[in-house]
């Protein structure tokens, strides 16, 4: 199980000659029950992989949208363990959709790497992205995750040069996450023309599928990225839906799943008619 689920999913996407659609939401935003109902609805809305953020008090790489989501998550009482509980509850009804946890190192460090890895595997987590743990500092975490078959998914950025690439893809599995803009989440837009060569370079260096995120908000942007990458990640645009629906007292789950399905459609049809 675990990272095999990621490999199987990307193999299936390749067979269908389409890019995957990866969604990001924050655990506990605005509360645990809503997050669980969103998670349960995402696969049917077209999510091929799910990234689930666990909140941190000081999310240094996030733009205002996800900063506020983290604050709402913490306010609702969400914790790292609470996030694992959400994954376990999701897994009761879905054995196929890979779940990647995404967040910052300190909550995981505080929990203890071995304890976290064991609990995450048991809950049904397939991969982990830690924004503030570059490869130079990742070995102890990699040891713990590899022992449980969980993929440590690495970020590559526009600033990652050729000399650094081998370091970045060392001990990584599942896929590589290309941060398509130098900046925080949800602010700048990805430039599809610059994304294509970067994706190619990363595929070659890692031998893994490449997902692209950080600058994709609209169906058009998602489709442009889906033409060249193995997956397109959308986070802030979905979190914005959650925020506005919660503020307007609308049905959060319905609104965010509607948005997700629009984006999924764009990703799924991006390569129609191409080989």
């Amino acid at each position: 199980m675990t990272k095999d689920r990621i490999d199987r999913r990307f193999a299936a996407l390749k067979a269908e000659n389409r890019a995957g659609f990866v969604t990001y939401v924050m655990a506990g935003d605005p509360d645990a029950a809503t997050t669980l109902s969103v998670l349960k609805g995402l696969p049917a809305a077209g999510a091929d992989l799910i990234e689930l953020g666990f909140p941190f008090s000081d999310p240094m790489a996030e733009g205002p949208t996800i900063q506020r989501a983290a604050q709402r998550g913490l306010k609702s009482g969400m914790t790292l363990q609470g996030t694992l509980d959400l994954v376990a509850a999701f897994r009761e009804g879905d054995q196929d959709t890979p779940i990647i946890l995404m967040g910052y190192l300190n909550p995981v460090l505080h929990r203890g790497f071995e304890s976290f890895a064991a609990a995450a595997a048991k809950a049904g987590v397939d991969g982990l992205i830690i924004v503030d743990c570059p490869p130079e500092e990742a070995d102890p975490l990699s040891d713990a995750l590899e022992a449980e078959g969980i993929a440590l998914i690495r970020l590559a950025a526009p600033t990652t040069d050729d000399a650094r690439l081998p370091m970045v893809v060392r001990r990584t599995s599942g896929f590589v996450y290309y941060v398509s803009v130098a900046g925080v989440t949800g602010v700048k837009s990805a430039d599809a023309a610059e994304v294509a060569p970067a994706v190619e370079r990363l595929r070659k260096a890692s031998g893994l599928p490449v997902a692209v995120g950080f600058g994709i908000r609209t169906p058009d942007q998602a489709a442009a990225v889906a033409k060249v990458a193995d997956a397109a990640v959308v986070g802030s645009a979905l979190v914005d839906e959650i925020e506005s629906a919660a503020r307007l007292n609308e049905n959060v789950t319905e609104k965010v799943l509607l948005k997700a399905s629009e984006l999924a459609k764009a990703v799924r049809s991006a390569r129609v008619g191409t080989k």
């Binding site: 909140p55 941190f56 000081d58 240094m60 190192l105 300190n106 570059p134 600033t159 650094r164 941060v179």
Partner: protein, 412 residues
Amino acid sequence: MRLEELVNAPAKPNDYSAYPDANGRFGDFGGRYVAETLMPLVLELGKAYADAKADPEFQAQLTSYNTHYAGRPSPLYFAERLTEHFGGAKIYFKRDELNHTGSHKINNALGQILLAMRMGKTRIIAETGAGQHGVATATVCARFGLPCVVYMGATDVERQKPNVFRMNLLGAEVRPVTSGTGTLKDAMNEAMRDWVTNVHDTYYLIGTAAGPHPYPVMVRDFQSVIGAEAREQILEMEGRLPDAVVACIGGGSNAIGLFHPFLNDASVRLIGVEAAGHGVSTDKHAASLTGGRPGVLHGNRTYLLQDDDGQIIDAHSISAGLDYPGIGPEHSFLHEVGRAEYVSSTDEEALAAFQLCSTLEGIIPALEPAHALARVGEIAQELGKDKIVVMNLCGRGDKDIFTVAEALGRKI
């Protein structure tokens, strides 16, 4: 100490000044915990700093600005009346509040801006708590003609208005940060976000001896001028080394600058004073070593105030400059190996020391060193009459008069 504690205790290094290692590690602390986008920049900065450090021309340039622009060396002053008042060891002040801009922060700002220009960077950003580092950065940016953006927590903007105006006069843009609780840690988060967004031209001038490697070692090196001068001055004035050196600690830049040149002088006690706010047993303090545990924040592994889920807890101190939930990694290391001692002073104790220093020595200290001074009396008494203690008076108190007046219930 129980046997197992002795066995498990970290080995005592032979040379405390040999840290960090090539990866920026002080024992278990330090490192480079930043997002991948910043990692190449942090590595480039490490190389550029190593190169500058070894370049006599860079060092000569820095020394020249330290002398003619900042006014170094700062005096070492025998605080005779405070010594008499406490009736113990002779108390000396290292007068870093007499530097240009009124604190030790100029030492580091000068060093880093010379490095930034050497690297061809054209825009400077900084974070600030009390505003002392912001003022120092705005000052050197004005001097060298570089645009400057200073991130400052909205709470701090409110309680340090004179420094905000000072930065504006110097041509810097002050951006209030409202995320989190609007204090130093939030300002640092926001500065990191700016840096990651403007990687091509921007230099992040960090003010304390924390952050990803090479910042802790770089800031320490630039601040070590404090301890190097103090060591030479006390040898000249007293013919011997002091028995203790004392400094306040938020992130810990003035303390590490004072301590570092004394690290291998085994007879010299190194004492850092954290901010205990309302008391370290309350939830309103900023004493990371006394009340925190190791974790990762702002690019380095160090002691942090955090809850059971690893969320960072907001610090509290009457002094905006000490109001930080972490501490530089080298202090965490010196604490764990036992080379330095760390104690704390409450808001109330610092206020009393602030007034005592003003009336007995004619020096209005900043609230930050007032925390150190609040422990110096008992340290002097404990050491006894024939001993010597040197305290770093790292900033002057003009910026704090409104805060102090309010705390004393006075309207000005």
